[in-house]
């Protein structure tokens, strides 16, 4: 396969995943902002949404002033000067997909192209209920794209690169989501373990469609370290860091088998998976969840760079 084709598939996977993630962040922020804790909670919800999307600094530099519901919604969902806005992600996913149409099935292309056509139909919904419908639609798009790829694509390198991009992006997203909640979200003066704190953790679980899953797994009320356990180490949870790492390893190994050659990306990915297998959440908390996540993000980026060097140029 052409390196450029692999690169476009990989980024199609990443951008579709990112669009879904940003939609979930915005949904959560809408929920958090309705909390009775007053304006502080609302302000911190919208600032937290920016931080989770990794867009805090870029937003500040864009001259939009203090984050408000209107400005953050617009920036994260529609702004063309934010390269990770939902709209920008769907456009870039489609541009990448269009440049490799021959590697896609008709069904997958229609799902991606349909998302692009849908953007024009939605416009920029101003009313909150329309905006929520828009976010629902974005999540539906990523389900349609993932469904089309999983149901119609040959299991060859094209599929592995598409999924690999999505898995690396998802690992990055989960890690940042957890970090923001743990580190930034609670306004000064609010008690850890207080009502706001509790509500934020449950919202976080909702964001990754895991609130019910949490209850099934732990049969307890929501506790921060168990949420962290679920999102970091639990292999049944498809968005956990360990699950993402497992998927990354399996896609890379399929590529290695197809091409009959392992390389630095495979070696790096499997050594990280081994660490996950041995990790315990108590130890992670002991040495600091924030530090742990920062290291994970750095290594995840190093892995992305290794994939790039090995296959995409």
């Amino acid at each position: 396969m052409l390196s450029r084709t692999a690169d476009s598939l990989y980024w199609t996977g990443r951008y579709m995943e990112r669009a879904d993630f940003v939609a979930r962040i915005l949904e959560a922020a809408l929920r958090l902002a309705t909390l009775p804790a007053g304006e502080d909670a609302a302000a911190s919800a919208w600032a937290g949404a920016l931080a989770s999307a990794g867009a805090g600094q870029a937003f500040a530099a864009s001259g939009r002033g203090k984050p408000t519901e209107a400005s953050v919604r617009d920036y994260l969902a529609f702004s063309p000067d934010n390269g990770s806005s939902i709209q920008a992600c769907l456009i870039k996913a489609r541009t990448n997909a269009r440049s490799v149409r021959t590697a896609l099935t008709v069904e997958l292309w229609e799902a991606i192209n349909g998302a692009w056509n849908g953007l024009a139909d939605f416009g920029k919904p101003g009313r909150r209920d329309d905006f929520v419908r828009f976010l629902e639609w974005v999540k539906g798009v990523s389900l349609a794209v993932e469904g089309a790829s999983s149901r119609t694509m040959l299991r060859n390198d094209a599929y592995w690169f598409l999924r690999l991009g999505a898995a690396i992006e998802r690992a990055d997203n989960t890690a940042r989501l957890l970090d923001v909640k743990y580190h930034l979200l609670l306004p000064p003066g609010e008690r850890v373990g207080g009502q706001l704190d509790y509500f934020q953790w449950t919202t976080l679980l909702r964001e990754v469609s895991a609130l019910t899953a949490y209850r099934w797994v732990y049969r307890e009320s929501v506790r921060p370290w168990l949420v962290a356990d679920l999102l970091v180490l639990n292999r049944q949870m498809p968005r956990s860091l360990a699950s993402c790492q497992g998927m990354i390893v399996s896609y890379l190994e399929r590529l290695a088998a197809d091409y009959n050659r392992r390389g630095p990306a495979q070696r790096l990915a499997s050594s990280r998976l081994t660490e996950f297998n041995e990790a315990r959440i108590e130890d992670i908390f002991q040495s600091g969840l924030h530090e742990y996540i920062q290291r994970f993000l750095k290594e995840n980026n190093a892995l992305a760079a290794a994939v790039h060097d090995q296959y995409l140029v």
Binding site: M1, R98, S99, R101, W109, L255, Y259, L312, V313
Partner: protein, 463 residues
């Protein structure tokens, strides 16, 4: 044939339409548009920033050609394209047609599309123009005439194929009632044509690629469509590199040798080391690999000289000279503005004529006298006087029309026809059908998709 009469080949369609519900065509037409949009079958229009991708309007009423008409057409196309290839072989070889006085030397040798790099070269099997698209019009009852030859990178074949798919989806019963030659043999024939053109060094299973300028090119959809149907990689210039006069593509498994390039990039842009140094879509060193005989380009470099509109005016003589036969397909009568008498006549009646740049294409840079304002005509007159050698002129033709859906009713609209002709060392083949372009505005003669024309499916009956 008088207005309102039904041509023999359209009788069955006419009966069927009369029996169909009144709004059937309109609703099918909407269905087609929806489907094309969903599939992203789009065409980019240069200089149209607002909508850089748009659909080519598709007319659901087919254009129908009888088997008798087609048989004549096919013979004419084979003869003409064989002559085109023989002409190219000759001007880059012995130049006998110039010595015999068939065509003035300066028209060939000072033509910007003539490539001195190719002088004395012989591509595999002496095939220069693997893929040609010949634009035809019908004026009256005496059959088709050639409007222009496209011997560089003719486009539109994806619409021939997609329009047929669409029609079979929309009107299955019509296909049951007519016996229509299939067009989807085109891609198989194209693949065999490209394989047959591979250099001797390529082995039994030559690696073929389609080279595109990229997603922003107006015909990008077609490039990706063809690569997909051929089952070969669609590459951009940056995907290829040349090492030791051999072309490779960059893949996830390392460099792989390339044997045949179906290139959809003009000569000027294929290699910045040989042609335009500012080209960002080409491959540095490609010409060296080509001249070393390590890779085949389809079409060959230098074929543009054969579709120059001034060379066109010599085609009847060229056909006679190389085939020893009378041309089966006639040219449209054409004035060469480089000749003083012709220029004088053209300047005297610009408002009646169509004037074209000899090297132009796509309907850009032409004057359609009857459709232009006085000011436009005068501006064009100045250009023409300054550079008469750059232009040819043709009468405004009474182009034939075909029934076309407009606002829910069938209306006569002007059409042309571009069949696609493939040449391999084994011979010349024509797919029965082609791209019918239709001027959607009443009275308009301009069918180019870049100028708002539409397309139709083209049926060749097997009766």
């Amino acid at each position: 044939m008088g207005a309102g009469e039904v041509r023999e080949s359209y009788r069955a369609l006419d009966r069927w339409l009369k029996a169909a519900p009144a709004d059937l065509l309109s609703s099918r037409s909407r269905q087609a548009e929806l489907f094309f949009r969903r599939m992203g079958v789009t065409f980019a229009v240069y200089g149209d920033a607002e909508s850089n991708e748009r659909l080519i309007p598709f007319d659901v009423v087919p254009r129908i050609i009888s088997s008798g008409e087609w048989a004549q057409l096919e013979r004419g196309l084979k003869q003409r394209v064989a002559a085109l290839n023989a002409f190219l072989k000759d001007i880059y070889g012995a130049q006998e047609c110039i010595r015999a006085g068939i065509i003035p030397a300066e028209i060939v040798l000072t033509n910007p599309q003539y490539r001195p790099e190719m002088q004395g070269r012989r591509p595999p099997g002496d095939v220069w123009c693997h893929i040609a698209g010949i634009d035809l019009v019908r004026t009256g009852e005496d059959g088709f005439q050639v409007l222009e030859d496209n011997a560089r990178t003719p486009s539109g074949v994806s619409y021939m194929l997609e329009n047929r798919e669409m029609m079979m989806r929309l009107f299955p019963d019509l296909f049951a009632e007519h016996r229509i030659h299939p067009v989807d043999t085109y891609t198989d024939t194209l693949l065999r044509t490209l394989q047959a053109g591979a250099p001797g060094s390529a082995g039994d299973d030559p690696r073929i690629v389609v080279l595109t300028p990229g997603p922003f090119n107006s015909a990008y959809y077609e490039h990706s469509f063809l690569a997909d149907k051929l089952g070969v990689e669609l590459v951009e210039g940056t995907d290829l590199f040349v090492n030791d006069d051999t072309v490779f593509m960059r893949t996830t498994e390392g460099p792989q040798k390339v044997d045949v390039i179906y290139r959809r990039i003009d000569d000027d842009f294929i290699d910045p080391l040989t042609f335009r140094p500012d080209s960002a879509v080409g491959v540095p060193g490609l010409m060296a690999a080509y001249l070393a005989g390590n890779v085949t380009l389809a079409n060959a470099v230098g074929t543009g000289v054969a579709d120059d509109k001034c060379v066109y005016t010599y085609m009847p003589e060229i056909v006679r000279f190389f085939t020893g036969e009378e041309p089966i397909l006639k040219n449209i009568p054409t004035w060469r503005c480089r000749e003083p008498d012709a220029l004088k006549e053209v300047l005297g009646r610009l408002e009646d004529l169509v004037v074209k740049e000899v090297g132009g294409s796509g309907g850009y840079g032409m004057l359609v006298g009857p459709a232009s304002t006085k000011a436009e005509i005068e501006a064009f007159r100045a250009k023409l006087i300054a550079n008469p050698g750059e232009f040819i002129a043709q009468p405004t033709l009474s182009l034939s029309t075909a029934p076309t859906l407009d606002d829910g009713a069938l209306q006569p609209r002007h059409v042309d026809l571009r069949p696609f002709v493939l040449t391999s060392p084994g011979g010349v083949r024509v797919t029965p059908g082609g791209l019918t372009r239709v001027a959607l505005k009443a009275g308009s003669l301009v069918v180019n998709s870049s100028q708002g024309g539409g397309t139709k499916d083209t049926w060749v009956l097997d009766d």
